[in-house]
């Protein structure tokens, strides 16, 4: 058999109130199986209370080669940070 099982990316919410975070990937034939594998592989010690599995092919990623053009515009806009502004030390601002 030469068919390859599709790749899924796994995201876990470690406890209520926190966001889901990428923890790894696995191969599975369908969403149901991906979910079971994710439970077995990534939550053997109560690492999560909620799982997302996403087909890796459905993820659109920014490209490393375009990184500069893509992210640099934010670099010279320091005024977007609170620390850019001078305020009196004795006031709580």
């Amino acid at each position: 058999m030469n068919k390859h099982l599709p790749l899924w990316e796994v995201f876990l919410r470690s406890r209520r109130g926190l966001e889901h975070k990428h923890v790894g990937s696995l191969h599975a034939a369908d969403p149901e199986q991906a979910m079971q594998y994710a439970r077995d592989v990534y939550t053997r010690r109560m690492e999560g209370c909620s799982i997302w599995v996403v087909l890796a092919n459905d993820i659109h990623a920014s490209q490393e080669a375009e990184g500069e053009a893509f992210f640099d515009p934010a670099e010279d806009k320091v005024y977007r940070h609170a620390s850019f502004y001078d305020v009196p030390d004795d006031l709580k601002l």
Binding site: L5, G24, H27, A28, D30, Q33, D40, V41, R45
Partner: protein, 320 residues
Amino acid sequence: MEISSLEESRREAIFQARVDAEEKIEPKDWMPEAYRKNLIRQISQHGHSEVVGQLPEGNWITRAPTLRRKAVLLAKVQDEAGHGLYLYSATETLGIAREELMEQLLTGKAKYASIFNYPTLSWADVGAIGWLVDGAAIVNQISLCRTSYGPYARAMVRICKEESFHMRQGYEIMTVLARGSQEQKAMAQDALNRWWWPTLMMFGPHDADSAHSGSSMKWKIKRQSNDELRQKFVDQSVAQAQHLNLKIPDEKLKWNDERGHYDFGEIDWDEFTAVLGGAGPCNHERLEARRIAHEQGDWVRDAMFAHAEKQRQRDVRKTA
């Protein structure tokens, strides 16, 4: 031609600067072909070691002396499968398919840790593997948490968290045996005698003879040399053996005040080469077990595809 090689060296300089600055390399970054190949070799062989490593211990699941030991051993062996998966996933981010990795293992093209080619003859061996083999693996893997390739480093962090349970359950088995009857104590000593030297071999050849060490250190794939890690393991193991009242089978083992380390005897490198080359006691048995497991899993994979396809068809019909 000249421009492209200029471009190549410019990229290589950026890559090396990133590595030198302790920044991680991520899957989509440009990397030298040799770095990629080196990583595929190292991470996949690490993964294969986890997977094959299930076999010697799996041998004792049905014969564990108590229900508690059985539950623990099952959980440990399941962890090893999980570690294999983390590592295979990390390898795949370098652009090689899982099926190809399997193929390399089953055809013998890819190696796995030579330690797993030794047999588990008694229950004490399960203790010795946890204490020594997993103990040695932790020394190596803690160092690898700082490796330069992001997915490998992340897999190592996850694995290290789980591995200390493996070592402790092994040491606990040894403790019970070492404090037990004469026969039990003899069993523990016998296991230590057989596993000590193969465990020291796990760290690989001496630095001077290690084929991949130079570039691995420069690229920060490896962070500490084979000999450094081996020394660390010996140093930590002496007190652990003393506590068990067991004797490490090395007449040359002796504290060296000047070095601040234990001196120890020379490894039988002929044995190391022979076992790595396929002549160990269980090489054939291990690979055969993997091959059979893979073949017998064929129909399961077929069924998974068929089921997924049927579900898809059903969804299409529902929405139509």
